[in-house]
């Protein structure tokens, strides 16, 4: 009897130990489960993917940066970063469209968007193939805004009279653009500004080869005074009113050719 009692005691102790072990294991599993849940929250946070608008159009890198990394830079901060043009962007700017207005050929690339910048390569032919040409007011427009301010990056490519002088315009403070195209307009073009101390030399040379000035019998004296050029009409064979003569000569010496040249440019998003 005593043996049976002892055996039952051992069995009960074993059962209790088994139950305690089971309870301990269950508690451990619950605890482990709780840890997984917590770490699960962490993983969700660190691997969260950007939720992009369900559209086939890609946002700019600027848009992705805005969602994931930092708020968009204000215009002045972005401006102070300076030009961001690099070789990769430069190589992606390929001339795709052209227009001729008043014998001036303007060629442009698509708009390349990268970061907060919009890049357009533009080449302007010279009507006389002597003096290289420069841009005038150039407006970039989309449904998101209008931009008139830009950096001017030189382009080292071969410059021929047919192709003209090429520049890369870099507009800053560009928000995410979802449109497939942007409108680019150049209102006017003209000669590159001469170096200081050589204004009059260039202006006289340009006026002497201009048919309008020669046929009207117009001559003028020129001087550089206090950081600007000054001129006086010294000959006016046809007695053209003074204000008209001054306007004509000024347009001739700076080579002003009014356009506009207007393009609807496809948008390329660089990642």
């Amino acid at each position: 009897m005593k043996k049976i009692y002892t055996l039952l005691t051992f069995l009960m102790a074993g059962a209790i130990l088994f139950l305690l072990g089971f309870a301990f294991n269950w508690a451990n599993q619950r605890s482990a489960q709780a840890s997984i849940d917590l770490s699960g929250i962490g993983i969700t946070q660190t691997s969260r993917q950007p939720v992009l608008t369900p559209t086939s159009l890609l946002p700019t890198k600027g848009a992705i940066l805005e969602t994931l990394e930092s708020p968009r830079l204000d215009a002045l901060t972005d401006f102070r970063r300076g030009p961001l043009l690099n070789d990769e962007i430069r190589q992606s700017l390929i001339i795709t469209q052209s227009q001729v207005v008043k014998d001036v050929l303007l060629q442009v690339s698509d708009v390349v968007l990268y970061d907060s910048r919009a890049y357009i390569k533009t080449c302007i032919s010279s009507p006389d193939a002597v003096d290289p040409m420069d841009f005038g007011s150039s407006t970039l427009t989309s449904s998101e805004g209008i931009w008139i301010n830009f950096y001017i990056n030189g382009h080292p490519a071969l410059i021929s009279p047919e192709q003209g002088r090429c520049l890369i315009l870099e507009y800053w403070d560009i928000p995410p653009i979802y449109a497939t195209s942007m409108q680019f307009t150049m209102d006017i073009v003209g000669y590159v500004v001469p170096d200081e101390g050589r204004f009059c030399e260039a202006y006289q040379r340009r006026s002497q080869r201009d048919q309008r000035v020669v046929e009207a019998g117009i001559e003028f004296s020129c001087d550089e005074v206090n950081g600007a050029f000054s001129m006086e009409i010294t000959r006016n064979d046809q007695n053209i009113p003074k204000n008209i003569v001054y306007g004509m000569v000024q347009d001739v010496v700076v080579g002003a050719v009014p356009g506009p040249w207007s393009f609807d440019l496809p948008v390329i998003h660089m990642q």
């Binding site: 001017i152 500004v193 200081e196 101390g197 005074v225 950081g227």
Partner: protein, 143 residues
């Protein structure tokens, strides 16, 4: 005719400060230029001849506009000294004004400057860049 301020005529370094560059300076551009409010703002320099720098601003609007330029230097925000110029009247597309020079210190050390410019339909208050040119979008250093 306006009174003509003396021009460079082969000055060098500090002696060029306040004088306008002429052909003897053999001017070149420095860094990237930019346009702001139809003003094309360029940093200009004469590295080997006049040993100085200045700012040139060109009206890029098809309409005539008042055009002004300033080279700012000294102080915390480049606000202390300036060389400044404004067109005598609205000037047409492609016409420029440029500031007097800021000569290199001892003819060697380039003075740290900002180049500023603007255009407008009315006369512009000077110097361009105001009291804190470093924080003005009308001014920039070299990139």
């Amino acid at each position: 005719m306006p009174i003509k301020t003396i021009q460079a005529a082969m000055c060098s370094g500090y002696n060029c400060t306040g004088l306008y560059a002429d052909s003897s300076c053999n001017a070149t551009g420095v860094g990237a230029s930019y346009t702001y409010n139809y003003a094309m703002i360029e940093r200009r320099q004469s590295e080997f001849y006049c040993k100085a720098q200045w700012t040139r601003v060109t009206n890029k609007n098809s309409a005539s506009r008042w055009t002004a330029s300033a080279t700012r230097y000294g102080g915390t925000y480049y606000e202390m000294y300036y060389q400044s110029v404004q067109s005598a009247a609205p000037i047409g597309y492609g016409v420029s004004v440029f500031t007097p020079m800021v000569g290199n210190d001892n003819g060697v050390n380039v003075i740290d400057t900002l180049s500023c410019g603007n255009t407008g339909t009315n006369q512009l208050s000077q110097p361009i860049g105001g009291s804190q040119p470093y924080l003005s979008p009308y001014c920039t250093s070299v990139w």
